[in-house]
Amino acid sequence: MHYPSTHKTTHRLHRFHGGLHLPDNKAQSTGRPVRQALVPELLILPLQQHIGAIAKPLVSAGDHVLKGQMIAAPQGLISAPVHAASSGVVVGIEDRPIPHPSGLSAPCILIRTDGEDRWCELPEPIGDVNAINPDTLRARIRDAGIVGMGGAAFPTSVKVNPGREQPIDTLVINGAECEPYITCDDMLMRERAGRVVAGVAVLRQLVEAEKCLIGIEDNKPDAIAAMTQAVKDIGLDQTTVVTIPTHYPSGGEKQLIKVLTGLEVPSEGIPARIGIVCHNVGTAAAVADAVLEGKPLISRLLTLTGQGIAEPCNLEVLVGTPVSELIRRAGGYTNAASRLILGGPMMGFTLPDDQVPVTKASNCLLVAGVGEAPDPGPAAPCIRCGECAKVCPANLLPQQMYWYARAKDLEKVQEYNLFDCIECGCCSHVCPSHIPLVQYYRYAKQESWALDLEKHKSEHARHRHEARQERLARLEAEKKARLKKKKAALKKKPTAAGTSADPKKAAIDAALKRAAEKKAQLAEKGVKPENTQQLTEAQQRQVDAADARRKAARPAEPPADAAAVETEQQDG
């Protein structure tokens, strides 16, 4: 399955099961070069634009911030900071709608920009990556807030740790961009191939990979040419730009690895387990920016396309820019605009309005026209035709999973390997009954997680309860043992004391004897006990003086309750 392409590659390719050949609709947005989007009046920066722990704000309302300044710090290992995308004043930290399928709000830092776009002081560029400590590089990537820009938004600094158990053999760079309409990676590779390859070099150094494969679909000949040239120019050894067939979803991490290496990432495992690390081309470019220029991740390329947009194009946008501003920059909506989609047509989700900001992981705004995404009508019953199984890249049985997901039989749906589903949407696309299959799997996954959490919680509670019961039983047993011992000791004593008939009397006598001995000892040393019966003259004088003072200070007879209060106070 080798498509004709301008660049011959001798690299052996492999196939994955299923997949689709979709009309790619990429030409619409690649006609003009990438332009800068304008700095919006208000930047909305969600504190969580990544997988992992939410970032902690470092600023508060009223603070003046500079472009590139860290305004929220990562918390924990798997987290990422957030930077101000332009200079201005923080006007608040509050919940705002974020681009998420749920349509929910999440905490965001709002910056009223001042139009100066003034940079803060950036860290020193690192010229020679070979000379620098890898941990310093990793810290730089972490501080720059870089996350996987292919869509998953996993913190890159975590991913560039070389495998602890398994050495990394191959670095796979994902330039497949298999989803229709999206062209931001294509344009990035065409226009900034040098930057991407420089980032690849840094990534490869960090993961200590022997070789590097850059996979690009054959519908991007310009990008392939530019990348091949850049690899040659930079002189990266053991690095191959591989042309792969245009076949959705070859840009899925697991699918791309299979196509390029023939290896399958084990179920529920990460690529590092088979000696591979995979990064997106956008991530590589961001790494180059951070390392070679000290710039944090505050902007990215974004495709604006679809029949609903007047001038489909690619823009370099500041993270946090509201969607409406970007649409305006792309000529506004056309009359055809019927659906606002973040991401591509297969995996993207609709936005209810255009006031949400774009984030580090946003790659495409697709404003679909009526003809592009017609309403498929209500879902009909599954006729078990098996089309879904035919196209499933994970080789699952979607019709069976649907059956059990619908019946809420979570155990069974997991038995059919629900968690191997990558939610690519192939099954939903081909379903003749127009069942939103992926929705069912997402639902089943959420329910399973919730159930696991619930199970975990109840397990935890049970453990605690059992531990408490055990502790109480132990304490009880110890108490009993102590009492028993005491009883036994008391029983034994009379026989042990022997001579005296009454043990109590003997004990008192012994105590009196000890006290008398001590008194005698003290008397010998010349120490007199200080007590009221034997006051020295000086002491007696002090006492008398104090009594006189007290009498003078107090009225004749204080009321009873006042005296009580006084006593209380004295006690206190």
């Binding site: 099961h17 979709l22 229709p180 697991k254 399958e264 990432v265 179920s267 529920e268 495992g269 409406s324 909506y333 605009a337 659906r339 606002l340 989609i341 047509p345 297969m346 995996m347 993207g348 989700f349 609709t350 309005d353 255009d354 697709l366 679909a368 003809g371 592009e372 995404a373 309403d375 498929p376 009508g377 209500p378 009909a380 019953p381 599954c382 006729i383 078990r384 035709c385 098996g386 089309e387 199984a389 035919k390 890249p393 994970a394 080789n395 699952l396 049985l397 019709q399 059919y416 390997n417 191997d420 949407g425 939903s428 696309h429 081909v430 003749p432 009954s433 127009h434 939103p436 992926v438």
Partner: protein
């Protein structure tokens, strides 16, 4: 600006149930024309009557179940059931048997199990078997093909036979009807007549019965069309036909006088119609690739066994229904290896 929230994918969908059914109906056209040509107007009348009953029955049940009528009737699945039933029954079947068979198929076999997608049995075949067991005489009274038929009935005569049961003057049932080639072969073999002798009759063509073999060819063409349109996959028909042919050839090689040659089984009765149009009914068949091979192969075996040693001349319907019962189990044990899982 506000937009509707819709679930992904945001694409124009290439498939629909209605189109799937429509392709099946289109693929049935050549075989149906051939049958009408060889066996007369009765076939066409049955097809129309069965379709009418199926659609009316489906609409009525949907109403009773308080389900929207239009999208369900519009998917044409009831029409496909009706057509397959009509192509399986004799051309002069009394109208009320067609109504009974199709009504049973749609109301009991399809909708009592939940409607399209939920029926464990192929409705057309269940309706056919109900009639075959209950009315064996009417269900085995076929017509001779046009070439050897001396009493070809006109449209009016056929209508009157089907709807009133009155034969044209001077004719009786024995004169106009005839057993199918499969039935003939079986009856005569039971009488210990040698195949070489049986085949002397003018009833036979090159592979199977006169006329029948051409009907088979045209259904084969329709089946290839369905494969080309990817409405069905090759697994079930190929497994079924290859296994049936292999077993038949093996037995024929062992004893040529008591076992007809391999192609006879392929080009007789409902084999080709069954292989491409009935066994491939997605709802009641296996869905895994490996499962489909097993399912098809078992149908092939059962057809041979029932035709050779069973109590009925043809066996496609029984074989399909028996395997319908096994389909879920086969599916369960033939799940494909999932990506990233061990072999």
């Amino acid at each position: 600006m506000r937009f509707p929230t819709v679930t992904s994918p945001h694409t124009e969908r290439p498939n629909s149930v209605t189109w799937t059914m429509l392709w099946v109906i289109i693929a049935l056209v050549p075989g149906s024309i051939a049958m009408i040509w060889y066996f007369g107007w009765g076939i066409l009348i049955n097809m129309l009557l069965a379709s009418l009953v199926a659609v009316a029955g489906e609409a009525a049940v949907l109403k009773l179940r308080s389900r929207p009528v239009m999208p369900a009737v519009g998917d044409l699945s009831a029409v496909v059931t009706a057509l397959l039933f009509a192509l399986a029954v004799p051309p002069l079947l009394p109208w009320w048997l067609t109504v009974l068979g199709v009504g049973f198929a749609i109301i009991v076999v399809k909708h009592m199990y939940g409607g399209i997608g939920y029926n464990p049995f192929n409705p057309a075949m269940a309706g056919y078997v109900l009639l075959l067991i209950s009315y064996p005489v009417e269900m085995t009274a076929w017509l001779p093909p046009r070439m050897i038929n001396e009493q070809v009935l006109g449209l009016g005569q056929t209508l009157s036979v089907i709807f009133t049961g009155t034969l044209p003057a001077g004719l009786d049932w024995d004169a106009i009807t005839m057993a199918t080639p499969l039935d003939t072969m079986r009856t005569q073999l039971d009488l210990n007549i040698m195949i070489s002798e049986i085949r002397l009759s003018p009833l036979w063509g090159d592979f199977g019965g006169m006329g029948w073999e051409w009907v088979g060819n045209w259904f084969l063409l329709g089946g290839l069309f369905l494969l080309y349109k990817r409405v069905i996959s090759w697994h079930i028909p190929v497994a079924m036909l290859v296994v049936l042919l292999s077993i038949a050839m093996l037995f024929h090689a062992l004893d040529q006088e008591t076992h007809p040659f391999g192609l006879f089984h392929i080009f007789s009765g409902g084999t080709l119609l069954g292989a491409f149009f009935i066994a491939t009914d997605p709802v009641s068949a296996c869905t895994t690739r490996k499962g489909q091979l097993i399912y098809g192969a078992c149908i092939g075996v059962l057809i041979f066994v029932i035709r050779t040693w069973g109590g009925y001349p043809d066996a496609v319907a029984f074989a399909v229904l028996l395997m319908n019962m096994a389909a879920p189990t086969i599916d369960y044990y033939t799940q494909p290896r999932v990506f990233g899982h061990g072999p």
